[in-house]
Symmetry: D2
Subunit: 96 residues, 4 copies
Amino acid sequence: MDSVHGYTSDKDAYLARLRRVEGQVRGLQRMVDEDAYCIDVLTQVSAVTKALQTVALGLMEDHLGHCVAQAVTEGGPLADEKLREASDAIARLVRS
Amino acid sequence: MDSVHGYTSDKDAYLARLRRVEGQVRGLQRMVDEDAYCIDVLTQVSAVTKALQTVALGLMEDHLGHCVAQAVTEGGPLADEKLREASDAIARLVRS
Amino acid sequence: MDSVHGYTSDKDAYLARLRRVEGQVRGLQRMVDEDAYCIDVLTQVSAVTKALQTVALGLMEDHLGHCVAQAVTEGGPLADEKLREASDAIARLVRS
Amino acid sequence: MDSVHGYTSDKDAYLARLRRVEGQVRGLQRMVDEDAYCIDVLTQVSAVTKALQTVALGLMEDHLGHCVAQAVTEGGPLADEKLREASDAIARLVRS
């Protein structure tokens, strides 16, 4: 029953953004297929990466404000676990 | 006539990788649609970002080894322009 | 009076790490001064960047577990402000 | 006798920038020592990381324009080796 996450209220916005990313990736395939200039392909790859990063940062903010905040309010070992898990995810984002 | 870029000989491999990225992005949409746990969505976003980064690094290596190397061999202002353009693209990659 | 932050209990460890980073940056100066090979300088720059990133991720984890967790427990507008501020700092880390 | 690298002509500028980075790292130590607010420390860490990135991108551009361009002009296996080495260094920068 608990399928409510931080991003649930913005689900449609996230889906719209991810569909846009999918369109950008298909655009990349078209560019490669039509022998577009390497640098133009690279510029577009950077744009997709940035779009994904924005999605990730939004998800992280929602996650901190909901799942993590709720666990912290309740306290106990779950709070620590959630904080650790969020920190690990932040590290993966920073390093990717 | 000059539609031959650094990545042309590997075109199929790049297209295959980009189709895999497209599949991953559709997987992300499914996860969001099915209310997957935020951290799992984030882990998958990091995986897609890394896959795109690998594509970009491959394109850059091919570009340096072909377009830039050829311009440098011919020398003149085009060589400088290509070097500058490649450096700018590297900067965009590093900062994205 | 409230000079207790997330990292305070590990202050000595952070200072030791930052002194090591300072030593690495001085090592970079020595390399440039002695005309070290560009790629070797670049490898060392990447090492320093990674060391700083590790410091940043540690600070962020401590910050979430202390300042942010405390504000969230107390609730109210300060909690929202702290969450927003942390999210902005995460975005700066991811984009830098 | 061959101690001339891409960055050699800008050596003083690189040294000046690295000394500024060293000063920033010492500033970080001071902030931690004086219990500065975590987010302010993090903002400063991001600034140092960006400064190092700028140094790295400058070194890479100089390296491509000198060492790599020279090897490419001369051709042969050394050209391939230099291109591969540069691509690996770019990958380390992008992933750090």
